[in-house]
Assembly symmetry: C2
Homo-oligomer: 317 residues x 2
């Protein structure tokens, strides 16, 4: 019945003392004010303005409206400003989830980038394996997930799970074979997986284990999984002790080293694609988009020579 525009007009009249001045103050023409007041009066069923020839005076009811204008309009402005702050990245909060090995370098770098460009955008971060983070995304408990998919598979299995989701590839991560320095294949340039058919294996997270089994099956054997752990530091320790061999994503090797372990390219090569996933709607939320962009930038700075294979002293321990 009464809206903000009406209050604004009444306040202007109270302040300026005439319809014409109020119109000028609001950027309207005088008849606009005249009609607005009349509409307000017939809506409220009361006289709001006393017309006294030369100027106008508010009646009691008119003063009531003028008096209420300030709180209402300033609250409205505050709301608008808050939204504008979010839209303008002067505010905003992103709930980010990433799988553990992405947390090491890719994510911190992205967080730093966002903080640098938009100091007032805050990012909440939770570690989670891809299936879990995608579920959180669907449940609305997360705005942006960093996930990965091994070559040939998709981030989310099942085609229909994908729609409504925006999937941005961040980088290609080569899967390498970690063996102890003393292992017979340690000197090889590349290793066919079949050569490790007889070795005990160390598997990581369920999906990684699945990937291992799949690769091995392609190479014609079923891996003998001796140990399972999701902790790559532990994996390296186990490998170093000669207790088994393992597949380790290249990304991990940049932060987890062990001098007694070498990481070799395998044959045929296998990669996983690290992606950022969000929903269609959320991808248009400025803070989310900014974070996504930062992740891409972080990934671009991190990829060495994505698909090519490289001689590698530095990170193969």
């Amino acid at each position: 019945m009464i809206d903000a525009a009406g209050l604004r007009v009444m306040r202007a009249i109270a302040q300026e003392g005439s319809f014409t001045a109020a119109a000028a103050a609001l950027g309207y023409t005088q008849p606009a004010i005249s009609q607005m007041v009349r509409r307000l009066e017939q809506r409220t069923g009361t006289v709001l303005v006393e017309r006294t020839g030369r100027s106008v005076r508010l009646t009691e009811a008119g003063r009531v409206l003028a008096r209420h204008a300030d709180p209402v309009l300033s609250a409205l402005d505050a709301a608008e400003e808050e939204v504008a702050a979010i839209a303008g990245l002067r505010s905003g909060r992103v709930r980010l989830m990433a799988f553990p090995s992405a947390s090491a370098t890719l994510v911190p770098r992205a967080l730093a980038l966002v903080k640098e460009r938009f100091p007032d955008v805050t990012i909440g971060f939770t570690e989670a394996e891809p299936p879990e983070s995608l579920a959180a995304l669907r449940a609305g408990e997360c705005d942006l997930a960093v996930a990965f998919a091994y070559e040939g598979t998709d981030v989310a299995r099942g085609e229909q799970d994908l729609d409504g989701l925006v999937i941005t590839p961040l980088l290609e991560d080569e899967v390498r074979l970690a063996v102890p320095r003393s292992h017979p294949v340690a000197d090889r340039e590349t290793v066919p997986l079949a050569d490790l058919a007889g070795d005990p294996w160390i598997a990581g997270c369920p999906r990684c284990r699945g990937h291992l089994v799949q690769l091995a099956s392609g190479a014609g054997f079923r891996p003998d999984v001796a140990y399972e752990t999701e902790d790559y530091v532990a994996v390296m320790g186990l490998v170093a002790e000669g207790l088994g061999v393992a597949l380790i994503p290249d990304l991990i090797l940049r932060t987890v080293h062990h001098e007694d372990v070498v990481a070799l390219p395998i044959e045929p090569a296998s990669r996983r694609t690290i992606t950022a996933v969000t929903t269609d709607d959320l991808s248009r939320v400025p803070a989310v988009a900014a974070t996504l962009e930062a992740l891409a930038a972080s990934a671009a700075g991190q990829s060495r020579a994505p698909t090519t294979r490289m001689p590698e002293p530095a990170w193969s321990i």
Copy 2:
């Protein structure tokens, strides 16, 4: 940019959890909500609602709007309610001015009537002689004035002073001659004013004195004004002591008595008309209209020769 309607919609969505439910809650159809949200989104330049197939979820910006809805809308409701209270006579304040002798009975009775029917309407009351009260009315310092005009003259002299003013006759007040009981004319039914040409006179307020002079001049003499006082009790005392004669409105005589004074009709009869005066705008303010009506009712109950007519309550815009 953002208005109350938008906030109401966002709040409803937040509360109800879906567009359809929000529409139902607000009495709209679903597409109305859908479009409203879209408009808000393009105005703010941000995504406000995350569409997740089964239901919708607000984004951070959306929650900001929903959160601001309560204060704004309740302030708006409060304003509306306050105005409605004034319109519905559950509130309101009338600044009333009346000349002293009206204050005696006519006004108190009217005040009582208003208080009885509309306990929450408050009436501020100030005594003032007609010219003064009309000036206050024009100056906006008064909403309703009780004034009087002697027969043949007008409440406000000058024709043009009258427009914009609403003048309601309340009652006709006969002017009588007060003489001491011992005065030679005290037994007469009516007294030609000329018979008092030789007596000393006691005059009241300037206008009353003017009226006296005018009447006397009509009767062919110039009154010898021995005393002047606006206090009718004093007038009665002076008359009782035989210090002079006076013209006294009938209305006064109902409250001011003196056993040694008789009040006689004069010849030719003279009356003053007691009127309520307000502005055109103010006459449509409910509290003012109610007071005006009460004054008329009070006058009707008081008039001996009910030559007055009730004013029509005019509180439609």
